[in-house]
Point group: C2
Chain length 210, copies 2
């Protein structure tokens, strides 16, 4: 492997299509690994342990926190959610780009711990289209839609903390564009230290030898 | 046009293939405009005014400096070289990405004036390959090659000031990769202010209207 992988954090408004982009990246390219979160919430019917989540007890979760085994964690309602560290670091070292779909607060926590993480924020092309998409689902009450739009208004204040804003207009284009953003990030100097260090050392040696 | 263009500054070691990459970008894609430098040096046989350079007198050049008509300028040996501002700004406003092939000192000057400029540094995969390429040209004396390698050693100290290090291994791959790096840069929040401002404003309005 020429380089370590990138920890790719994907956040965005509810209804922006984060999940579809993640699925598209995993299907269309072979350099991605998906980070699976750990949670104390009960599995819903049909949910398999290790797919969308690792389901653990409260005791196990708290032990993992104490052992430093999570990159980030948060509590929503009465349940814990967190990102296990071992899997992420193993895949990064193997040169895979690891995708993590996570809320804004968790994303900003991760950027502190992993300054080389790449933070992507997914949005529809406009606020009107966001509302339309939430309404078109037909599964949410007006109250839930209202709550999601309010939350989007809050989250939009923090968008600029992300490295890129991914506009999800046509999904195929968006998946390809997201892939190119991630691959481009590999050539930032901070992620190419091995190369730049060896260039500097070798050029200096050649120059001194005359 | 959805967005302003990006001022793309391309630097790199002599022999790294900057010129070939620039030609490839202009040939393969239609979103690029090439910035033509102004100089006081004499045209060489076959050089046409307005192609590689605008050839002007010393008086004209100094007048352009005084009028603030150059983005950056420098003096090498006894000649001035500079980048005319009007053409660059016109093309950026029209949504074109403007390419500027320029030395390291000029590149860093530009980044101060245009913080949203994208700085790309081109390098071969290794110092040994750089030397090989300079030698293979067969047109340079050992002394010239030595001078270029010494200069590369100096320039390598500043590589990290660039936004991306472009490794030129296979030229076709490198042109396509450089294009994807530039297109990815369009989604940095600082370059998407129109979109993020309107999203924030519209979401806030919708939220207040309930």
């Amino acid at each position: 492997m020429e380089h370590d992988g990138i920890l790719v954090v994907i956040s965005g408004f509810a209804g922006a299509g984060k999940g579809t982009i993640v699925k598209g990246l995993l299907k269309d390219y072979d350099n991605y690994a998906l980070s699976v979160s750990m949670t104390t919430r009960q599995p819903r019917p049909g949910e398999v342990n290790g797919e969308a989540y690792f389901f653990v007890s409260r005791e196990e979760f708290e032990k993992t926190i104490e052992e430093g085994g999570l990159i980030e964690h948060a509590q929503y309602v009465d349940n814990y959610y967190g990102t296990p560290k071992a899997y992420v670091e193993e895949k990064l070292k193997a040169g895979m780009d690891v995708i993590l779909e996570i809320e804004l607060q968790g994303a900003l926590q991760i950027k502190k711990l992993y300054p080389e993480a790449l933070l992507l924020f997914v949005t529809p092309p406009s606020a009107a289209i966001l509302k339309q998409r939430l309404t078109d689902r037909g599964t949410e009450t007006a109250e839930v839609i209202k709550r999601r739009m309010d939350r989007a208004a809050e989250e939009s204040q923090m968008m600029d903390k992300y490295d890129h804003i991914i506009v999800n207009d046509k999904i195929e284009d968006c998946v390809a564009y997201t892939h190119s953003v991630i691959q481009s990030a590999h050539s930032a100097p901070a992620r190419l230290k091995k190369l730049t260090d060896s260039l500097r050392r070798d050029l200096k040696e050649m120059s001194e030898q005359g």
